[in-house]
């Protein structure tokens, strides 16, 4: 009887270990974001981290996704927590048909005119001192503007990223949450692009 119980206990332990979540593997799917090139997000239901760098003050980054139905998605913009980037506050806007007409102040912030028939949601920094987060995949500290759940309509949506003050430096545009075991892609072979 006792041997039987021990077998069950060992079975439970092994099953537990197999089913236990491996938090080290939880991550956004990383990708390099190049200025001046349209980055297409094939599956808007997955979580992404787009790593870019403003080398020039007027660099402009653009990504496109085409959700099949309206979609609620958390988005945030992060900046490496380094002294030289303390004033680096890039912004993003979601641009597309069905989004609200931006206020005059928001429109003045946009880096280019809105396409015909498009509205926009312009991100904000919730706190002047910015929230600090620890990103567990690259194990680095970042400032964030604050993750915000946005509702985007179905159809073609563009994400614009620019630097309103003309500051340069790295940033990450994060979509979704660290929510599942995702292929880290070529993160390790391009570590210098992702980490800092």
């Amino acid at each position: 009887m006792r041997r039987h119980a021990t077998k069950w206990a060992l079975g439970a332990l092994v099953t537990g270990l197999l089913l236990a979540p491996s938090h080290g593997a939880l991550a956004h799917l990383p990708n390099i974001f190049e200025a001046g090139e349209l980055l297409v997000i094939d599956d808007p239901l997955r979580s992404f981290a787009l790593y870019g760098e403003f080398e020039r003050p007027d660099d402009f980054f653009e990504a496109r996704m085409t959700p099949a139905t309206p979609l609620a998605i958390p988005v945030e913009i992060l900046v490496p927590g380094r002294d030289e980037l303390v004033d680096h506050r890039p912004l993003f806007a979601i641009v597309g048909p069905g989004l609200p007409v931006p206020s005059a102040a928001e429109r003045a912030l946009l880096p280019r005119p809105l396409p015909e028939g498009a509205g926009a949601i312009v991100a904000r920094y919730e706190r002047e001192d910015r929230e600090v987060i620890f990103e567990s995949f690259t194990r680095r500290v970042f400032w964030t503007n604050g993750p915000t759940a946005y509702v985007v309509p179905a159809g073609e949506m563009r994400f614009w990223v620019w630097s309103p003050e003309g500051t340069t430096g790295k940033f990450v545009l994060g979509f979704g949450v660290e929510e599942g075991r995702q292929d880290p892609g070529d993160l390790l072979s391009n570590w210098g692009d992702y980490a800092y």
């Binding site: 119980a5 332990l13 537990g16 309206p70 979609l71 609620a72 958390p74 949601i121 993750p147 929510e179």
Partner: protein
Amino acid sequence: MGLPLSRHPTWPLAATFWALLCASCGAEQGPECKAFVSCVGELDVLHGTHTNVDRFLPEGACWGSDKGAEVCESACRRGIPRLREQEPQLSCQQGGVP
């Protein structure tokens, strides 16, 4: 007939181990996201749409880890006022402390 736990010390050990594992198995849907999902539901009624909020639902991906849950709750808290800006007819409220 069940096994008396005291006569089988492996059982409490296994139970403890299992409990420790499940403590890191995930989180529950938080009040901010519950309110956010409800708010999006209100938006859908107004617009005749069906928004994908799967990630934020009780069984959604948001609640797979404590860190993910924290990010989602934070995102939902900020999301509700943005949603009201998008659609001023919405009457939904924040889920937690205003």
